[in-house]
Subunit: 607 residues, 2 copies
């Protein structure tokens, strides 16, 4: 999810595409000649596969192999995080990749298990079934199918816009807190202790502290070495498959030194073979319990995937379509669930590597899936000696980069209300729970928006010296008049802020006894609802009774339409003016407010 | 509640105050010399009582008597509606009036039982206790105290602005539906049938249909006569106390013709005496059950009172202060509850009568309270023969005027989204329930606002022929250029609509291959949040990469501040221009977009 910040992240970074050719102007979503037609609109693979350009083959093959090498250890690690048998991470990735390759609109997006949806899976299922329960894998698979179904429905209903409700501060706060929750959930494996199933962050910390004495020193040392190698690899050898190196070294060391007999937990028998389709058992009660979890995962999975895909599309000129992405991500999850997998998404780091290694069409993903199939068929015996602590180290290093303190500080500096949203989302996700945390963040961000909208910036306006522009008297050198007040309220005039306009007008008129006319500069009055129209009419009536004329200037089209339909004033047309200057000429011709005087400087330049 | 429409209602109407003296300009809420100081700020009665102007005495006395004559039958009728013994209507009014007279800021507001809070009381208590249960009156009194406590807390926290969340369509839809629910609840008394305690509108209609055969013809005739008299009085004799006439006639007819032995239900023994303070029993469980009901009643009671008070204050130049009104309404409810009453509010029709009859200070209200005390002490024996159907007729006639079909049609015509809000609130209130209906309406209206804000009006802008104004190319005759596009998005740029800006810019640039510069006319971009600032920066970066320069014109101060804090562009200052014309001169000097050509007509006048 961290990708939505659109700033250089901590992981591999897509190379900048240079020159004019990367113009976003050519990737607008509608009405362009390049838009696929017919069946290819629904199955984009029919668009690229028949005329596959040979010169892309090398990049796609390299990228496919590179991602597979990353995905084998990550898939197993995230499966463990999700409470699933490690091999299901390979299954979920394999079938999800194939489904996305057929239906997706991004040539570089790498789908598969990702940290946050894995965490949401284990946290969301906790209410229904505990990991380790024989029924757990089937229920997680059912959850993936529900996530897929919801995404398909949203895509067919063309509701991709819903993801816009996730604001930048909500995503940032949520991602940072979820990363901490994930990292904390791995500490028990890094220490090699058993802490049962603690409930929440505070309980986890307490349980870890109580069991600190049981720490397995061998496990701790192997984990520390793995983390050090992964961090060093990330910093100094980005193009190396460090995770694979750590996995191989871990297997060899455990086998050679018999570490599994000295307190290190290993995966032991990992079943081999390809996944087979299976329909999980379901009941309406179970479906009802899982529905809110599925919705949260669906939104998060889509948000993560679409953010990465759009960021890459800005370089590649892929035509990433939000609603088709919903359908593709939905199909990928449904397929993953049908083949004993768990919820997946388009992930940040693997997509970046995929793009960087040269992936330009979904062929790269198909090659990744092929390598995964080989691994699932013939390599699983090698994983017998793979220490669990190595998988934990991979998860911890992957997610700690998602904690973005700098972004939090910048958001606070930029606008404190956004900082508050980030802080609320972060704390709620960390302390109340991952799923309610996201919902609380969204509701809080909407409340902040309504609150700000109900307290719009309102100001008196004057003519900027030497010009015929009208601006805020507090920010510009202006000329004003005693008998005409010009006011501006920045924002839609709607039920929650009509009082603000009334109060502002009344205060202004009270302060200036000579006022005979009030001009409302409506250039920033962007919309008006029925309450606003009523309030404006009432204000005009009251001012008329006081011998003060209310005029409107620069009334935007949509506002004009509503006022016209209201039919409040027969004289409405005479009270609306195309500019503040025209309004001024109508109410106080010749006033210093209306025209530039001979002695004014004309070189004012203030911003 | 219907008063918020501010249009001539169906009931008595405050006379228009003429001339300049009624200027609202002199009643701004802050910083005026007339503002009370010291203790009088908290107990406004200390402001007006000592220097009471003798010339107001006649008006206040007349008004006080008139309202009392209205309030005796109405108070008993609304008490019956609230499921309370009729005399408690007098009690609640009496003590509530005294509390409001000491603390309120309106000289004309008449507090007491009103239809909608009475309905909310009986509906809200239905979950806890049924009317007729001996515990019912004490629990209703407790509810009034909770309503009072909540209002006091809101007032001390200065949260009067919360009432702004009730939009005009929500209030209109809620009021109309509640009026229908109230009227329907009285039909059983008009028919003289016993239908038990039906749950909801549909159930009530069904129960009435089933019991239609038991209709008491005498009751029906008396009720029809009462309704006809009340409607005729409202239409032809507004200054007559028609309700009192109907009550007296009803008592005399019942007594003279022994109608109570022919199937008419009468009040029988009404206890006499003044109310005595009593603390109801309470438990945390009960308080928890009542809390949501109390909050709804508090909001509705305050909204009704403040709307009427402000409407009258526009004529009288009273300084009605929202937060002090919260405190006064809270004290009135707390007092009503402490003296065995039930929730009350400042009502529409009695306030209008009060004002019209000459009430200008709370002395009028104190006289009303005195008359009520006399009635409670010595007149209750007369009420023995008062038919219940007469009280039902008073309620029905009072509320049916609140069903405002014309306002609903006008709202639909004005803006369909507001019409939808009205319809949703109306249907939810009618079919789901009065309390959830209001909450559903508020949430729906906020959702509509967010939805509209996330789809702002966006347009291409050109120079209006013959002027240097820049406007929507679809509405004005404009000149545009091939190499410069000017766009305007009307509304705050925030997380839910950044995509809209991006899509608009991309579509424009895609359509016009020669574009070298995009000018964003930010005159209607009223606010920007962190997501919006990020999106704008990203857009500028993408356009730069495509060799297209993004410039901003008429950036409002608050937006400029956020962008400056973001520190996105070192070149930000060079990209912001005080007007679209200046921006145009910077990117395409001499273009037809920037300056008026010699051959242009200069007499364009389009709105």
């Amino acid at each position: 999810m961290a990708v939505v910040t659109e700033r250089p992240g901590d992981g591999a970074q897509p190379a900048a595409a240079g020159g004019r050719s990367a113009s976003p102007s050519r990737s607008a979503h509608q009405g362009r000649p390049g838009r696929p037609r017919g069946l290819a609109r629904f199955v984009p693979a029919l668009g690229w596969a028949p005329g596959y350009p040979r010169d892309r083959l090398r990049g796609d093959v390299t990228a496919g192999l590179t991602v597979a090498v990353m995905l084998i250890p990550q898939g197993m690690a995230y499966a463990t995080l999700a409470g699933m048998p490690p091999v299901t991470g390979l299954y979920a990735a394999m079938v999800g990749i194939v489904a996305y390759a057929l239906l997706g609109t991004s040539g570089s997006l790498a789908v598969g298990p990702v940290a946050i949806t894995s965490l949401l899976t284990v946290e969301g299922l906790a209410r229904v079934v505990t990991p380790g329960d024989p029924a757990y894998p089937a229920i997680a698979a059912l959850l993936a199918m529900m996530v897929g179904g919801l995404l398909l429905v949203l895509g067919l209903a063309r509701l991709g816009v819903l993801v816009n409700l996730l604001s930048h501060p909500v995503i940032s706060g949520f991602t940072s807190a979820a990363a901490i929750v994930i990292a904390l959930s791995q500490v028990k494996d890094l220490l090699g202790v058993d802490i049962g199933r603690p409930d929440g962050v505070v309980d986890t910390v307490r349980a870890l502290a109580e069991n600190l004495g049981d720490t397995s020193v061998v496990t701790l040392v192997v984990g520390a070495l793995a983390i050090a190698t992964l961090v060093a690899g990330r910093r100094y050898a980005r193009r190396w498959p460090t995770a694979l190196v750590v996995v191989v070294a871990g297997i060899l060391a455990t086998w050679g030194l018999s570490l599994h007999e000295r307190g290190i937990a290993v995966l032991r028998d990992v079943p081999s073979g390809l996944p087979t389709p299976a329909l999980p058992e379901m009941s309406t009660g179970l479906l009802g319990d899982l529905a809110p979890v599925a919705l949260t995962i669906a939104i998060v999975a889509f948000a993560e995937g679409i953010s990465v895909a759009k960021a890459i599309a800005r370089k590649t000129r892929d035509d990433v379509d939000a609603n088709q992405e919903l359908i593709a991500t939905g199909a990928a999850n449904a397929a993953a669930g049908a083949f004993s997998g768990f919820p997946i998404a388009g992930g940040f780091s693997r997509t970046a590597v995929n793009f960087q290694a040269g992936a330009r069409t979904p062929l790269a993903s198909l090659i990744t899936a092929g390598v995964l199939a080989v691994a699932a068929l013939w390599l699983t015996p090698l994983f017998y000696y793979l220490p669990k602590v190595v998988l934990a180290a991979i998860v911890v290093v992957a997610v700690l980069g998602l904690v973005d303190v700098r972004d939090a500080l910048e958001t606070f500096r930029l606008r404190r209300s956004d900082g508050a949203t980030l802080a609320v989302t972060f704390l709620a996700t960390l302390l109340i729970g991952v799923e309610p945390g996201l919902a609380i963040g969204v509701v809080f961000s909407l409340a902040v928006f309504v609150w700000r909208s109900s307290n719009p910036h309102a100001t008196e306006v004057g003519r900027v010296v030497g010009t015929t522009e009208y601006r805020n008297v507090d920010r510009w050198p202006t000329r004003t008049a005693d008998d005409v007040a010009v006011l501006r309220v920045d924002g839609p005039l709607f039920f929650a802020n009509t009082k603000r306009l009334e109060d502002r007008v009344q205060a202004t008129v009270a302060d200036r006894p000579d006022v005979r006319a009030v001009i409302l500069d409506a250039s920033a009055t962007t919309d008006i609802d029925a309450s606003g129209a009523h309030a404006l009419h009432e204000l005009a009536t009251d001012l008329d009774a006081a011998g003060i004329a209310l005029h409107l200037a620069v009334v935007r089209g949509p506002v004009r339409d509503v006022l016209a339909r209201g039919g409040y004033w027969p004289e409405l047309d005479d009270r609306m003016h195309p500019s503040v200057g025209d309004a001024c000429q109508a109410v106080a011709p010749g006033s210093v407010l209306c025209r530039v005087a001979d002695d004014e400087p004309t070189d004012v330049r203030v911003l």
